[in-house]
């Protein structure tokens, strides 16, 4: 219920957000063209720009609930079609990055937490925090420069090689080569989050009595860690991972631009120039909806995994 209300708020908020700045989309569409006032008025009417803002809002609400996100000012095609076309690229990039960031980041956190205050802990903590602190697009540019420009190991952006016809496994390999650097950038950039959450959660669990009992039973260190400490320590990590999954659709505007990755992030950057109101509204609605949905899933998941939450 709370989620539904939040979504409704987002739907309304989006509409006004993009209209705070006074800007005439028609001026952008017609830039430098000699067009009679009559045609300008027709175009304005076609896009509903001649109506008062309240009428536009009512119309927007009605159509959004019918599942009609409108026509893009730029491409003159339905916004939904434009968005759907971009989803696979973004889900692929962000999904792979999400997986690697979560797995490697958590593993790093386990080592750092279990071997607290050793050189391993310091190495892992400082390196992941450094990567987490640098802007992701900057990291992307560095990786692109080193691996694509200087070493020439990877292609300079895009999703596949152009000018060659590849099929089957070759096409797949070629695709992986293009995916590698942007996915690495995002994985490195977001690993730190998982490392720090895992580490602190593990450290907390380690002081619990039941772990002392486990050790007292003479269990091997590894067994204590994997079978006793981790199941409890990883609860917040699961929540974090579920929450972050919600951001998969939002794309990564800066990193997608650096690597010319044709996903929703780049579509957002293109729509901002203009501005393409219907496209921006559609994109932001999708982004918000996915975050809200995965918040809900995270809550439910937590309840399922941790009986204490349900009880309280």
């Amino acid at each position: 219920m709370g989620s539904a209300l939040t979504l409704l708020f987002v739907v309304c908020f989006n509409f006004f957000l993009f209209r705070i700045v006074p800007s005439d989309p028609l001026a952008h569409m017609l830039r430098g063209r000699n067009i009679s006032r009559e045609v300008q008025d027709n175009l304005r009417a076609a896009f509903g720009l001649d109506q008062p803002i309240t009428t536009q809002f009512v119309y927007y609400l009605r159509e959004t609930f019918r599942g009609n996100l409108g026509i893009s000012f730029h491409s003159r095609q339905p916004v939904w079609d434009e968005i759907v076309e971009r989803i696979p690229a973004t889900v692929e990039l962000l999904g792979v990055s999400w997986l690697f960031a979560a797995v490697i980041g958590t593993a790093g956190g386990v080592i750092a937490g279990w071997r607290r205050n050793t050189w391993k802990d310091r190495l892992i903590t400082s390196s992941t925090m450094t990567l987490y602190s640098v802007p992701d697009f900057w990291l992307g540019i560095i990786l692109l420069t080193v691996f694509s420009v200087v070493l020439g190991w990877f292609p300079i952006g895009g999703m596949q090689s152009v000018g060659v016809r590849l099929q089957g496994f070759e096409a797949f390999l070629d695709h992986l080569r293009h995916l590698f650097l942007p996915a690495l950038t995002l994985s490195l950039a977001y690993m730190g989050e998982y490392t720090m959450v895992t580490r602190s959660s593990l450290v907390e669990v380690m002081s619990e009595d039941y772990l002392t009992v486990a050790r007292a039973k003479g269990l091997r260190d590894k067994v204590v860690r994997n079978h006793h400490a981790l199941p409890n320590a990883l609860l917040p990590v699961v929540t974090l991972a579920a929450l972050n999954l919600g951001f998969i659709l939002s794309g990564a505007i800066a990193v997608e631009s650096v690597f010319s990755w044709p996903g929703l992030g780049q579509a957002t950057a293109e729509a901002i120039r203009g501005p393409d109101y219907p496209m921006l509204q559609g994109l932001f609605l999708l982004f918000s909806a996915s975050v809200i949905l995965f918040n809900l899933i995270a809550d439910l998941l937590y309840m399922y995994l941790d009986p204490r939450v349900e009880a309280s």
């Binding site: 067009i35 003159r76 971009r86 690697f100 694509s148 070493l151 044709p262």
Partner: protein
């Protein structure tokens, strides 16, 4: 953890080394053109971006086109004759014209495009066809009549669309803009093959193009590839992933020129950037000093335009002293010495002193004559212009030197357009690129355009009269005189100051390709120019006249990394940094072995703990 690290390292090295064997050649030549602009739509009745124009001029021909010297030359029409009153022109089409899908191209297509675009006001056609009526005489003859004397005729450069494709979608002026235009049916040298938004637009040679008669295309496929940023674009050109880079930043010129395989083109199409003023003939609350031409001229003297050229444009731009009414520079008049407001702050101060704008209260800012409002101006920084912020900062300093205080306001160009129409500003930065006929550029400054396209709120009856006269003047020498006079009146008004003609910087792999043509011939760009004259002429280096699909030497050489741009036969690619696959392979083996050793050692250590 370690297993993951090992897996990732192996994956990375495998991906870097296991390059699929290129199967590109197959006897086809492909030119890859990189650009940073996206495509919003491919529909020529809806779009306006440079990237989109390039596709349209490749896919569609017009009745007439323009050569490197901007002269009107035959395109679909092979000849034309005028009626005695000069209002009606009869065009004869080439024999045997067909669309790329095999449908005959006739006078019917021409007449339909011209009449429908006039009736439905298609935004890219209407400016030319508004007053035209086309009549089909026979299959190869079409008669075009203008309701008013039109000095542009016989030049009719509007792109002719295939009636059999477009008639069903062009039900009205709005509906036609919704068509996606992915059909790939055209009459030009190349037609659309595949479109991936934000990625690539592929065009293949149209075998039915009249110009290919008796020869083979030098390039079979042209792929336009979009980059998310300019640095990647430049890097891709250097590594050979692409063959041509449009819109190279000025900062990359030295680097690219140092590469013997790359040719840099600094191309001008008469476009410029200016600091625009508000002369106060429109609405709004402009500072009264701005309505005085002396103040505007003084400001013009105080702007160090050469510094803009050198510091912001890396010396590639040119200082100019009047607008260019047309791409064709013969329409730009010689500017007499007294209208050349070259950098001279002392003179600027002198003009202001003499006109009575003095700093009476000693705060460093002049006041209106007789003591009144201080000269405090609002300058709008156009955030869509790369140079906007820098020019704004410099402008504050230049104005400070002549006792004018400037406040900076940042807006994007859409918002700036609204502010100009409202008249609530003193200066701003923006630019224009003129079209071929001078009328549309000149029309910007007429009184009727105040509140719309007139971006200086300046109005002169004398100028308007000259504009109206030249628009219908069929005698070219007289018209040239009128356009020059009008331009000089505008120049004297000093409504645009600090003007620089700005280049389109392009670069291509000269080790692979030749045959690029500038348009205008003297100093224009080679691609993304007015009529796309390069494309039919581009060929791999050494392929005289037509492409050779086999060349001496090893055409499948594929050093590390790169599977694209395997296009120029006989031109083995540069490898990224001279790292060969063998070296990488060896490196991979060493790294994997090292990791394996470390992993096994740590494992045993764990056991002991």
């Amino acid at each position: 953890m370690r297993r993951v690290v090992v897996f990732l390292s192996v994956l990375a090295l495998a991906l870097a080394t296991l390059v699929p064997v290129a199967s590109a050649q197959e006897g086809e030549t492909t030119l890859v053109v990189g650009l940073t602009q996206n495509w919003e739509t491919l529909n020529p009745t809806a779009g306006w971006l440079m990237s989109e124009w390039e596709m349209w001029i490749l896919q569609y021909s017009a009745l007439t086109t323009n050569d490197a010297d901007m002269e009107t030359v035959p395109d679909l029409a092979e000849s034309w004759i005028a009626s005695d009153d000069g209002l009606t022109w009869t065009y004869t089409l080439r024999e045997g014209l067909t669309w790329s899908d095999g449908t005959p191209l006739t006078a019917e297509d021409v007449a339909w495009t011209i009449n429908t675009s006039a009736e439905q006001e298609w935004m890219n056609h209407y400016e030319v066809t508004a007053d035209l009526t086309a009549t089909v005489i026979d299959e190869r003859t079409v008669q075009i009549t203008s309701a008013v004397p039109d000095p542009r005729l016989p030049d009719v450069g509007v792109l002719i669309l295939p009636k059999h494709i477009w008639e069903p979608v062009a039900t009205d002026g709005e509906e036609v803009t919704y068509y996606e235009n992915l059909d790939g049916v055209g009459s030009g040298p190349y037609v659309l093959e595949e479109y991936r938004p934000s990625q690539t637009l592929t065009m293949r040679a149209n075998p039915n193009w009249y110009g290919w008669e008796g020869r083979e295309p030098g390039v079979d496929r042209i792929i336009f590839r979009q980059f998310g940023n300019m640095d990647a674009l430049v890097a891709a050109l250097k590594s050979g992933e692409i063959d041509f880079a449009a819109s190279v930043p000025g900062s990359a010129i030295d680097d690219l020129e140092a590469d013997p395989n790359i040719e840099v083109i600094v191309g001008f199409q008469a476009g410029w950037e200016q600091i625009g003023t508000n002369a106060g003939d429109g609405d709004g609350d402009v500072h009264p000093a701005m309505t005085d031409v002396n103040v505007r001229q003084a400001m013009a003297y105080a702007v160090d335009t050469q510094a803009i050229v050198e510091d912001l444009w890396y010396g590639t731009a040119r200082e100019i002293h009047s607008i260019n009414p047309s791409i064709d520079k013969r329409w730009t008049p010689e500017i007499p010495a007294d209208l050349v407001f070259a950098y001279d702050p002392a003179k600027a101060n002198q003009i202001l002193d003499e006109a009575g704008y003095l700093d009476t209260d000693g705060d460093g800012v002049r006041e209106m004559p007789g003591g009144g409002d201080p000269l405090h101006f609002r300058h709008v920084v156009n955030t869509n212009s790369d140079m906007g912020a820098a020019i704004g900062e410099l402008f504050v300093g230049w104005m400070d030197a002549i006792g004018i205080e400037v406040e900076l306001i940042s807006l994007d160009s859409d918002q700036l357009g609204a502010v100009i129409a409202e008249g609530t500003y003193e200066t701003y930065n923006w630019g224009w690129t003129p079209s071929l006929d001078p009328s549309s550029m000149l029309s910007v400054f007429i009184c009727d355009e105040i509140g719309s396209f007139n971006d200086v709120n300046w109005c002169s009856e004398e100028y308007d009269a000259l504009y109206e006269a030249q628009k219908v003047e069929l005698d070219e020498a007289t018209r040239l005189q009128q356009v020059h006079e009008a331009t000089l009146i505008l120049t004297e008004g000093a409504v645009y100051i600090g003007m620089v003609e700005v280049p389109e910087i392009q670069a291509y792999r000269a080790d692979r390709w030749e045959g690029f043509l500038r348009q205008p011939a003297a100093d224009g760009p080679v691609l993304f120019n007015f009529a796309g004259i390069s494309y039919p002429n581009i060929r791999p280096v050494g392929a005289e006249g037509g492409p050779t699909t086999t060349a001496p030497g090893d055409t499948t050489t594929q050093p590390s990394g790169d599977t694209t741009g395997t296009t120029a036969p006989g031109q083995p690619e540069e490898s990224g940094g001279g790292v060969s696959p063998a070296v990488i392979g060896g490196l991979a083996a060493v790294v994997v072995a090292a990791i394996a050793v470390v992993v096994s050692r740590r494992k045993s250590e764990d056991e002991r703990e």
